[in-house]
């Protein structure tokens, strides 16, 4: 009788954890941990660790094979490589910044832009040869990649994006 009263008093102040509460809490917590864990593990599983994609770094050359004032359209890596007259090289992405279509180098230019332009067939974006937007809907200029010269060849890595003033390499 005394014990019962004690328990009741404690229950009123909500301080005592009964056996049932204890196991309920343990069970709920364990279920929650397992659910969260499995969510994390599943997300991890969905993201592949090995990709059979082409390497980001590639070489172009030797340099004397690249004609001055010419453009190489590297379709495999989606990069335009430009050589300007004295011997300056730069690389511009050929993937449109709007929705990712392949752009084309158009040396004859278009109406209003008589010099060569880069044009996207999907939604009509137009860029100049340095990658700047001349006409929308593209929201920003094409990516420019860092170009290095190694053993008479150009080395380009499509992970190394640089600003317009750093993109040109002079030989």
């Amino acid at each position: 009788m005394e014990d019962k009263d004690k328990i009741n008093n404690h229950n009123d102040s909500a301080k005592v954890i009964t056996r049932r509460d204890f196991f309920n809490k343990i069970g709920t917590t364990a279920t929650g941990v397992v659910l969260l864990g499995s969510l994390g593990v599943t997300l991890d599983f969905l993201s592949p660790n090995v990709l059979l994609e082409i390497p980001k770094e590639f070489k172009i050359g030797p340099l004397e094979n690249i004609q001055p004032d010419s453009v190489i359209d590297n379709a495999e890596h989606h990069v335009f490589i430009f050589r300007e007259h004295p011997g300056s090289f730069y690389a511009v992405s050929s993937i449109c910044t709007h929705l990712g279509c392949n752009t084309k180098w158009n040396p004859a230019g278009i109406e209003g832009h008589p010099e060569g332009v880069i044009a996207c067939p999907c939604h009509g974006s137009i860029f100049d040869k340095k990658g700047n937007v001349l006409h929308g809907p593209a929201p920003r200029s094409l990516d420019r990649f860092l170009v290095r010269v190694e053993n008479d060849k150009l080395v380009i890595n499509t992970d190394e994006i640089v600003s317009e003033d750093k993109m040109i390499v002079k030989v």
Binding site: L46, S47, P48, L51, L52, E53, H98, L99, G100
Partner: protein, 236 residues
């Protein structure tokens, strides 16, 4: 007639069909509708106006039957299709030129898919203009909107499977639209494509989404959608 009555009183018949045929009494007629899974979409009593063709144009049911056609033709198409590069495109061409009646089957699937997007959309317009989304039906309207989105997602994921130029660029554009989601856009795109560009993993992912995940969710929600029509007081 006597034989039929005898058959209807056998233990086996009674174990399968819980009610008598709706031929003798009004109670039997009501019970058939009340107890039938396929017929209880309508309440026991329906206003004549609500089952007239010009009232609903049967757009929901047409959408559902198109979905059934899509499941049947889709399962058959799966028997000749491998979601791999370059098999996918060749399989699609084989279905058209080598498999018996393959062109017919593929066109059934294709046209039903186009038509389903159209009828689901018309269904939504019908419900909107009749005001049938108003309480107590607002939750069923939400389910309907999700079903419309699922229909569009099924169309989108199915579009990659032939793996031709149209597929490739449509999915490129779609995946880049996903990239515009703030903060997690690039990650979602990576998970959706299973990589940074469209490849073997993308094809398998879209195949599983198209053939397993999205149809299952669709089927569950369609069942809920139909059940709610009945519970919310029938067609309006």
């Amino acid at each position: 007639m006597k034989k039929i009555e005898w058959l209807m009183n056998t233990k086996i018949w009674r174990s399968i069909f819980r009610t008598k045929l709706p031929i003798s009494t009004n109670l039997d007629r009501s019970l058939v509708i009340f107890n039938s899974l396929t017929l209880h979409i309508h309440p026991v009593k329906v206003r004549e106006k609500a089952i007239r063709f010009s009232y609903t144009f049967y757009l929901g049911m047409i959408s559902f039957f198109l979905f059934v056609i899509l499941i049947v033709t889709g399962i058959l198409l799966m028997l000749y299709y491998q979601p791999a590069i370059p098999n996918a495109y060749q399989n699609m061409k084989d279905i058209q030129y080598v498999v018996s009646n393959g062109t017919f089957l593929r066109n059934m699937h294709r046209w039903s898919a186009h038509l389903m997007v159209f009828t689901v959309f018309l269904h939504m317009l019908r419900v909107f203009f009749k005001g049938a989304y108003k309480p107590p039906r607002e939750f069923n309207w939400i389910i309907g909107v999700i079903l419309l989105l699922l229909t569009l997602l099924l169309s989108y994921t199915g579009y990659l499977l032939p793996y031709d130029q149209l597929s490739y660029w449509a999915v490129t554009v779609g995946a880049n639209i996903v990239k515009y989601v703030p903060f997690i856009g690039t990650k979602i795109r990576f998970l959706l494509l299973g990589g940074n560009q469209i490849g073997d993993y993308t094809l398998v992912r879209f195949y599983v989404l198209h053939c397993v995940i999205l149809p299952s969710v669709m089927l569950l929600l369609v069942a809920l959608h139909f059940w709610r029509i009945r519970k919310d007081g029938g067609l309006l």
